[in-house]
């Protein structure tokens, strides 16, 4: 039975949604995803990692549950490739030694602060458009209140612009948001809802291109540290 199924799955005429992200690579030799560093999470995501050239929305209720640790292994990999990491309107001061301890060279960071909500969006768009940035992290100030995310609404249009910019620059775009906007429509390629479960992190895939809704539990501090080959 299993053998017959495998044979069927190898059939070239069969299209599987999970391969969509892999096939969407814009050119030969350009990876469509970057591994998250968490084997359980890679399993759940189409293409086996964070989508490049697309926006990922990370929704969480409170800070400090591991929402950033989840990204660090991927950011470290991108920084090692010589690409820049743009952090736009981060909510607090960034501790450079902590980043260094997690394998990210702080010299690869470009921090934009002290701008209005619209300026932050503009800056994120520019950074995403630039080929220099491997990842762009944006903390929109609108996160405090629920964003009007109706299809055709303001928030939707802004996200759509960011999504198009990400496709140009082929970087990883990450938008942090409040769980309250989870019910709104979003053009993001990937949407995750995070919640704390004991000391661990519950990651719920709300939307992914060619993937399915799935939920996994992982320890954000225990990433498989990939050795730079």
């Amino acid at each position: 039975m299993q053998g017959a199924l495998d044979e069927l799955l190898r059939h070239p005429a069969l299209w599987r949604g999970r391969d969509a992200a892999r096939a969407a690579a814009p050119g030969e030799g350009v990876p469509a995803t970057v591994a998250t560093g968490f084997a359980v999470l890679d399993e759940c995501l189409p293409g086996g990692g964070w989508p490049l050239g697309a926006i990922t929305e990370i929704l969480h209720r409170s800070h400090g549950i591991g929402e950033l640790s989840l990204l660090l292994p991927a950011l470290a990999a991108l920084a090692r490739d010589g690409r820049w990491l743009a952090w736009i309107a981060p909510p607090w001061r960034i501790a450079a030694p902590a980043l260094e301890a997690r394998g990210i060279d702080p010299a690869r960071l470009l921090v934009v602060r002290g701008c209005s909500a619209n300026e932050a969006l503009w800056a994120a768009e520019q950074a995403l458009r630039s080929a220099a940035c491997g990842a762009v992290l944006l903390w929109p100030q609108a996160m405090r209140g629920a964003r009007p995310g109706r299809r055709g609404g303001d928030g939707f249009r802004q996200l759509r612009r960011l999504q198009l910019a990400a496709e140009t620059g082929h970087g990883l775009g990450v938008l942090f948001g409040d769980v309250r906007v989870a019910s709104n429509a979003s053009p993001a390629a990937l949407r995750l809802r995070l919640s704390a479960r004991g000391g661990d992190l519950q990651v719920e895939v709300l939307k992914s291109r060619g993937g399915r809704r799935i939920s996994v539990c992982l320890d954000p501090r225990a990433a498989a540290v990939a050795d730079p080959a």
């Binding site: 409170s62 743009a86 001061r93 450079a96």
Partner: protein, 529 residues
């Protein structure tokens, strides 16, 4: 009595005074540009008009007049005026009758000369041998530039595009000698002539009026039935030079490459300074940007010719009866790409209030930095270059863009500082050439035994304070600690703290500390994200 002109066969051999641009050996015919020189002549017939700068889209018809004796006649008309029936050569009075809304500007030879100099500067991008031929032409050597720009057609197309971006119109001629290129451009022969042996054939049809001859010589030639360059070249040389002086024969020889044609080359001035008058006073940003684009293209060529890049630009917008608006553009990394500089300027113009209409705009560049062009890798594919080497350049382009709109102090770098006090262990200096992350002094940070959080609060917050209760919501569960830090007695900001990691009911991990001295208060210092 004038000597009779005969077409006898006693044609003397030309003087063997052959310049470097001579014809290749006939046995192995090669394109002249393979190793030889090729000249491009650009003739700007509309320069009196286009020197006035870009014209806004909904402006009235425009013409330039010049005084000829007692009447003023039109020297150039723009497309709108042409559509209204106004032609160059008309008297101003007649033209205003045909088209009452016609705006007539006096011909400004100084402005025109400045425009031609500007165009020569722009050509510095393409050649190191540019010759200015007043009043309205340039000649430049392009044989050496063909490989760099991907061949003759690619080069010409690129120059045509850039001229259009600068709102200039030009007729181009390409030939193995500068004089022939000028003649072809003037006669409107746009087919490039790259081989010396084809030169005589291409020039044969050029009217003699295109040669710079005195009116008397010209009328005498016409009286003899000599109308084209070819007619002229067929006549015996000795008779021709006896009758019309040596200049005509010299001009023929120079065009055909039989005789040296020494020229003086345009040399870039030590500093760039340009003033562009606007045809119509305007406060419209798109008009200003269009005008700035022309000046920036000229700057780009100037910087290339000097082998430099600009570290800072100053744009002046002059108003009537008011002090000028000044825009100073400081660049993170010296640049000379006109489109990049224009994008930065556009961002700045968005933020500057232009209250009054602008009379003219001036650009000054005082600080030049020597800059070698980037070396491409011979073997590495382009994609690989984009990754490592290109990202540094792309990053500084991005930083400049962000800085131009958000202000220079909005873009920061992040550096580690060798200090055990967490609040001093990391710094966010404003991104600048001086503290560019590659060169930033990096200390060896102490490895934190129980971890340091990614987020640090700007100020440690008292746990018993009013705001802290709302932030922490409920009981804290101690997970790790203590981790002791005692340091900084030397600069008056000494700390003596025991750090702990605590988790709230919501799952947030906090970094807390307790003072080791009285009153031994508790603080929140960071958040583990």
């Amino acid at each position: 009595m004038k000597p009779a002109l005969t077409t006898a066969s006693s044609r003397p051999a030309p003087v063997p005074c052959v310049p470097a641009a001579s014809a290749p050996a006939p046995a192995t015919p090669q394109p002249a540009h393979a190793g030889g020189r090729l000249w491009l002549a650009l003739e700007f017939p509309a320069l009196p008009l286009s020197a006035l700068g870009p014209v806004p889209a909904q402006s009235p018809p425009l013409a330039v007049s010049v005084q000829q004796g007692r009447v003023a006649v039109l020297l150039g008309v723009d497309a709108r005026a042409h559509a209204a029936g106004v032609r160059a050569g008309m008297q101003v009075t007649a033209a205003t009758l045909i088209c009452p809304s016609l705006q007539v500007r006096r011909h400004d030879p100084v402005g025109e000369a400045a425009a031609l100099q500007g165009l020569a500067a722009w050509c510095g991008r393409y050649s190191s041998q540019v010759c200015v031929q007043p009043p309205r032409a340039l000649v430049l050597e392009i044989g050496a530039s063909l490989r760099l720009f991907g061949g003759l057609h690619a080069l010409l197309q690129r120059m045509r595009d850039e001229l259009r971006a600068q709102a200039h119109e030009a007729a181009a001629g390409v030939a193995p000698t500068p004089a022939a290129a000028t003649l072809l451009a003037r006669a409107g022969v746009h087919t490039p002539v790259t081989r010396a042996e084809r030169l005589a054939g291409a020039l044969a049809g050029v009217p003699v009026s295109c040669m710079e001859l005195s009116p008397r010589v010209l009328s005498d030639l016409h009286a003899l039935g000599v109308h084209t360059f070819g007619d002229c070249a067929r006549l015996p040389r000795d008779g021709l030079s006896k009758r019309f002086g040596p200049d005509l024969v010299m001009a023929l020889d120079r065009a055909l490459g039989r005789c040296a044609d020494p020229r003086s080359w345009w040399a870039p001035p030590p500093l760039f300074q340009r003033r562009l008058e606007l045809a119509f006073e305007s406060a419209d940003r798109s008009v200003l940007l269009h005008a700035a684009r022309r000046v920036l293209y000229e700057l780009g060529g100037f910087l290339r010719a000097r082998g430099c890049a600009a570290a800072a630009l100053e744009l002046q917008l002059a108003h009537r009866n008011a002090p000028a608006t000044r825009i100073v553009l400081e660049l993170v990394s010296p640049g000379r790409d006109p489109e990049h500089l224009l994008a930065l300027l556009a961002e700045r113009l968005e933020r500057v209030a232009i209250a009054r209409e602008v009379l003219y705009l001036g650009l000054r560049v005082d600080r030049l930095v020597p800059l070698a062009p980037a070396n491409g890798d011979l073997f590495a594919p382009r994609a690989a270059q984009r990754g490592a080497a290109g990202s540094g350049a792309a990053a500084s382009v991005l930083v400049e863009r962000l800085g131009a709109r958000l202000g220079r102090d909005a873009v920061h770098a992040l550096v580690c500082v060798a200090d055990h006090r967490p609040e001093h262990a990391s710094a966010e200096p404003v991104w600048d050439q001086g503290v560019a992350p590659h060169t930033a002094a990096r200390g060896a940070p102490p490895a934190p035994p129980c971890g340091m959080p990614l987020w640090l609060l700007p100020q440690p917050r008292r746990l018993d304070g009013a705001g802290a209760a709302a932030m922490l919501d409920g009981a804290l569960h101690m997970e790790q600690g203590p981790w002791r830090i005692e340091s900084g007695w030397w600069d008056g900001q000494d700390v003596a703290r025991d750090y702990y990691v605590a988790r709230s009911a919501r799952g947030t991990r906090y970094w807390l500390f307790r003072e080791r001295r009285e009153p031994r208060r508790w603080f929140v210092h960071g958040i583990f994200a």
